[in-house]
Structure formats: C-alpha cells, structure tokens
Symmetry: C2
Subunit: 204 residues, 2 copies
C-alpha cells in the first residue's frame, strides 16, 4: 500500500486539493486474474460514496460477472429505496445494449462495440456518471473495432469530474501512457494449470 | 481470462466435479494496487452465492476499507432482512477484535495479530464460514508475529469446503507454494508518483 504521501510534487500550478480531486483514468491489465474483480471492488467503493455508476461490459459471455451484476443491481435498488450509496446502470453488450435493440446487430460484435463506445461518448459529454467501468474494453480496441485515437481524445477532453476504469489484456501502450493509474495483474499460479475448472462463487 | 478449460488433467483420482469444488487457497500479492480490492470483489461474488463471509482485517489503519466495510455490512443486513446473499462478519484488528476487548492490548499489534489468527483457527475447525478474507495477513507473518508453519499446517488440514483468500505484499514463498491460485499485482503507474494524493472513492 502506498503510504499516502506523494513521492514528488509536480510544478503544475495546482493546489493539493485540485490535484487530489483530479478525475482518474485507471487501467487494469495483464494476464492474471483480478482485473475486473478489482475494478468492481473499486466501483463498490464509489457506490458507497454515492457515485453514479455506469458499467459497460464488452465482450464477456453472458455467464461471466452475473454475480457482480446481481449485487450491483441490488445495490442500485437499495439506493432507489433508501438513498444509500448511488445509482447503478449496468449495460451488457453480449445481450444487446439497452438503448440499441436493433434487429440483426446482436451477432455483429464490431458494430455492437462501436455502438457501445458511441453511447459512452454521449454520456461523457453529458457528464452522466461519476464512474465509468469499461470492462474488457481493451479487446474491441485491440481488434480495431474502436479507434484508439478517438478513445484517447475523448478521454483527454472529458468534462467535469468523471473517473474511467478500463480492464482487459493487451491494453494499447498509448492507453497506458494516458492513464493515471495502471496495475498489471500477473498470473503466478492458477488452479486450471492443475486441471481444475472454474467454480461457482470463485469464477462467477 | 482463462478459457474455462484446464491445460492438464492431473492423475489425482478425483472426478472433475470433485476437483472443481475443491476449496481454494487464493493469494493476492505484489506491490501494485488491487490486491485487497480484488479480494473484496471475490467476496462480493461469494456473497451473491449465499456464502457465509468472514473478513479479518490485519494491520490496516482505521481509515482504509471503510467503504468496503460499509457496503458489506449493508449486504449483511440485506441478507438478514430479505434472505438475499449470505451473512457477513467483518472484523478489524485495528479497533480491537470483537471477541477480544482486553484492556492494554490495543497497541500490542503482535499480540492482537496472534489473537486474530487463533480465532481464525477456531473458526476453521468449526467450519464457521464459507469464505475467509484475511486482508493484509502477509505482514504479521513477515514480521514473525504469526508462525507460517502453523498457518500452512492449519490451512492444509482445514475441514470441509472453506475458501481462504489472503492479501498483502511479501507473501512467504511457502504460502505461495501452498496456494491454489496466486495473482501478483504489479504497479505500472500510480498517481502518487506524479504528486497526487489519494482521493475519496478511489483510495477509500
């Protein structure tokens, strides 16, 4: 854990408070487990602060993250009924984005990914959420479905105080360059190496 | 993400189902962020499966993880009132374990850590929880406050189907050897390197 003290003070003309409250671009990458899990843990902390959360799941099959989705939707309901925490909007590309149910696009992943990013751009411009969790967002970028230059320009110019967390392997080097916080999750040992399949509660 | 297929099938006489449902020892280590956050994300998934969660915070100051504690306590209340998810027992060494409020021990961290581990041993023997999250547990081991041989023997002999997740830097090599799943979180870039202090919702 960092000790809470910066190792250098930049000459950027900002006060400590201004610097502290700068919106962050966070990237979790690497071949190990925990990239998305840590991102959802971060979102949990934000929810507790009353943040408006937007979760956008790219790529993942319907099976994955159902546990997180269930909990965050319950937390969103808790917010609606008691005012605790913040609102949660959970969007999954795999089952069709809620704002885009066009016939014929369900299987066109490149189009669906681009539509997802277009919506995220609209929401960033409108300052819709406090925290955007773009889960597995590195893949549609790596596959050329979403233009990394557009992502970098959009994120650099995003208004207000909107945090963005991006997960996935093979993050574009320029995305890492642009990020404020990058953690690489490295697989040291995994039970599947010893012939064990994933299990309920651990993998999903 | 693993593709869900083991890379080798061991000759251990177990069926796939038996192997799949083997209780896991998970370790999140390394100098990067996300070790605890990913562990809490894992616990969230377990809660959603109805698991009984025991969280034991070693070392951390009172400020840290308050967000997670608040959310998990709300989830525990949700379980108590609606039956959703599972029960949650959150224990913090920093403010004194709930079962041990002896005068004079608050500042004796070595004694407090040993008492925490003794209680975890009792609970493991009684099969009290489905998932034990031992946050920052590597430190009292590294500092010699808790005997690593005792930890290894206790975990190897734990009865039933109890998952254990351990977080912290400088994990003992034998703990990594004994673990089923090890992820190392590596710091690639952190805003504190650029003179930015931690901020609400991101760091706590």
């Amino acid at each position: 854990m960092p000790q809470g003290q910066p190792t250098a003070v930049p000459e950027d003309g900002l006060t400590t408070r201004q610097r502290r409250n700068r919106p962050l671009l966070v990237v979790h990458t690497g071949d190990g487990k925990g990239k998305s899990t840590a991102a959802f843990g971060l979102a949990l902390r934000g929810w507790n602060q009353g943040w408006d959360l937007g979760v956008f799941q790219f790529v993942k099959s319907a099976k994955w993250r159902l546990g997180e989705q269930s909990v965050f939707e319950q937390l969103g309901s808790l917010h609606a009924s008691t005012g605790a925490g913040g609102p949660v909007d959970w969007q999954k590309m795999g089952s069709g984005w809620s704002w885009s149910r066009k016939a014929g696009t369900e299987d066109d992943h490149a189009v669906a990914a681009a539509e997802g990013w277009a919506e995220i751009k609209r929401r960033l411009a409108a300052e819709r959420h406090d925290l955007y969790l773009l889960d597995e967002f590195t893949y549609p970028i790596a596959w050329g479905w979403i233009d990394v230059d557009d992502v970098l320009e959009t994120l650099a110019a995003r208004p207000g105080h909107q945090h963005v967390v991006i997960t996935g392997r093979r993050a574009d080097p320029r995305l890492l360059e642009a990020a404020d916080l990058v953690t690489e999750m490295t697989k040291v040992k995994h039970p599947m190496d010893a012939g064990q399949k994933g299990q309920r509660g651990i993998e999903w």
